[in-house]
């Protein structure tokens, strides 16, 4: 099924734009922000060249972009938008609103530091700070994965009726050029059925959304959202397998790399996983029994899987390229919570590594592993940046 003509040298961002071209959203509200902008620029170029139809809305803010995305989605059409950093934060109110409205919008977010002070660097705090908004979240490590995961996100969001955010980091992924295998239109058409929701804003149907509800109605609605989130775990695994059947590439919702016989596991997300893989290879060559657990689907957090994978492991080292002052690394917190009360739970070392976009090399990771092996963990994140 694969042909060489589908292999293009692309930045991570442009790999996403190509996925969006194939998905053919009806409505795309956009707003520029570094380092997301190339995603929207290539989409508007495709549109101008007649390679895409649909409505492009050049909004005056990310807040309005998300507001328009929600209502377009509720009118019963496929919607895409993209943002980063300050833009994602400006959307915060509407992110909750979108999830509450069960609008299966797909949004790409490029991780960038949050002001103040200003910076343009890879740092996952922007999207991790949205972890309680009711959005599905996927973290990707390269352009190929971002391309494929964008396709998966539509498949999952539209089945579950929750919005999905696909994420990669500034520059390391967004602007790095790589050979990317682009899915064919036939593959994507086979993968994504037409989006035709029974409930939508339509005078023929007469249904409304957003009216004031009672306490009990609100609680029930939140419970339904929680149940839907739970279902994402299986639906996302299936969507990954289904895409793999079509294009030959799959990722799982998490990945175990060289975990057989491992006594020590590195856990991280996004571009850091590529670096950690190299470190694992080198450590294995030295005879250190180390493996890697990459978390790809962060919301919903795959708690049961993580408990199973890490049960009986002596030590886990979490690498967080994000920082929540007062509590530390966010993946570290999530992992500790997930493993609480587990028999044979590992010791956990939480390391803040790469916050603000500082470079973390395989050598740095190897050094961290060596020092963690000889130390007792402390109960909080430790700066290693």
């Amino acid at each position: 099924m694969k042909t060489d003509s589908n292999r293009l040298l692309l930045s991570g961002n442009h790999a996403v734009s190509h996925a969006v071209r194939l998905v053919k959203p009806n409505v795309m509200p956009v707003y520029p922000i570094t380092p997301q902008t190339p995603i929207l620029e290539l989409i508007t170029e495709f549109h101008a060249a007649g390679e895409m139809t649909g409505e492009i809305m050049t909004m005056e803010s990310e807040h309005s972009a998300m507001a328009a995305a929600i209502t377009a989605s509720l009118t019963g059409v496929r919607v895409f938008t993209a943002t980063a950093s300050q833009g994602l934060l400006l959307m915060h109110e509407m992110l909750h609103y979108a999830a509450g409205a069960r609008a299966p919008i797909v949004m790409f977010n490029v991780n960038r530091t949050l002001g103040s002070p200003w910076g343009f660097w890879p740092d996952q705090t922007d999207s991790l700070a949205q972890r309680d908004t009711g959005w599905i979240q996927y973290y990707c490590e390269n352009g190929q994965e971002s391309h494929d995961t964008t396709l998966q996100a539509f498949r999952v969001a539209e089945q579950i009726l929750l919005p999905a955010m696909v994420i990669h980091e500034a520059f390391y992924v967004s602007h790095s050029m790589e050979a990317v295998e682009i899915a064919t239109q036939e593959q994507v058409d086979a993968y994504l059925p037409e989006f035709n929701p029974p409930h939508r804003l339509d005078p023929q149907i007469g249904e409304s959304w957003g009216n004031t509800v009672s306490q009990v109605m609100f609680q029930n609605h939140r419970r339904d959202m929680g149940d839907a989130m739970e279902r994402v775990l299986d639906v996302a695994k299936k969507a990954d397998q289904e895409l793999q059947d079509l294009v030959g590439r799959g990722y799982g919702i998490h990945e175990q790399y060289r975990c057989e016989g491992a006594e020590f596991i590195i856990t991280t997300m996004g571009s850091m996983t590529g670096t950690a893989r190299d470190a694992v290879d080198e450590l294995r060559a030295e005879g250190v029994p180390v493996g890697l657990l990459k978390i790809k689907l962060f919301r919903p957090f795959p708690v049961a899987d993580v408990r199973e994978i890490l049960s009986g492991i002596a030590k886990v080292m979490v690498l967080d390229r994000n920082f929540a002052p007062g509590t530390g690394g966010i993946l570290y917190q999530e992992l500790k919570a997930a493993l609480y009360g587990l028999k044979g739970a590992p010791e956990i070392h939480g390391y803040l590594a790469g916050v603000g976009g500082t470079n973390i090399s395989p050598v740095n990771i190897k050094d961290m592993v060596h020092s963690a092996i000889g130390e007792k963990p402390v109960a909080h994140s430790v700066w290693k940046g």
Binding site: N26, P29, E60, H63, A67, A68, V77, S208, N211, S214
Partner: protein, 289 residues
Amino acid sequence: MGYEIQEEKVFNSGHAACPGCSEALALRFILNTLGKDAIAVVPPSCIAIISGPQPLSSMSIPVYQTTLEASAASAAGIKRALISKGNNHTNVVAIAGDGGTYDIGFQALSAAAERNEDIIYVCLDNEGYMNTGTQKSSATPSMAFTTSTPAGKLSPKKNVPEIMVAHNIPYMATATTGYPDDLVRKVKKAMEIKGGLRFINVLTPCLAGWGVPDSAGPKTSRLAVQSGIYPLYEVENGETYTLNYGPNGLSVADYVATQKRYRHLSPEDVELLQAEVNHDWEKLQKKFK
């Protein structure tokens, strides 16, 4: 004065507005003129309360309740989705308060006007944040008491109608509930002029917020027009001005005398207000050819 209006029943009785509320009256005229092939967007405001708590609705059309600042963007999203599906007939109308229009929602409104989104935007202007208990908005007029300007507002009302005209939108009109036939005609005209953002500012006296009796909504609305405080006019394509109803010799003193929000005013204050109104009217009058 009598009037005759053809209505399609979209707005229903049994809603939760204060008895005599001008917003409810305006909704009746607007929605019953728009008819059933319409979708409404409503932000937090008394309008949202009138729209009704789940599972009830006073409006027999789909209503999307949005956030306070997002009405224009939300309406535009619906319209674009309809267009993408080949539906060019359904009217999408945003109905927002003055707070949701003049203040927090203005950025989204200005942008939707600049993109000339094919929507109707109606501002029900009761000159304050009434749903939260009568605080000042930028639509509150000079010297009026609100609970956040207890000594009276220090600055004049923002002129959003003229700001919307400056966007060169196809249609801008001012209207008020005391002139129902004029309001209905303007809604119809907005419906006929398709293909761009149509804006109607409807003055809707708030009984509680302005301090007037339950029965005084329409009367107060007419006084605002007749004293020159709120002339009724319409502008096409940012340049063709038409006056519908202007001042007829009543004074600002006649207008403020009936409203508790002005009861702290001295005669000198009223003179200052009169001078402001004269100045604004002179400026506006030059635009009618």
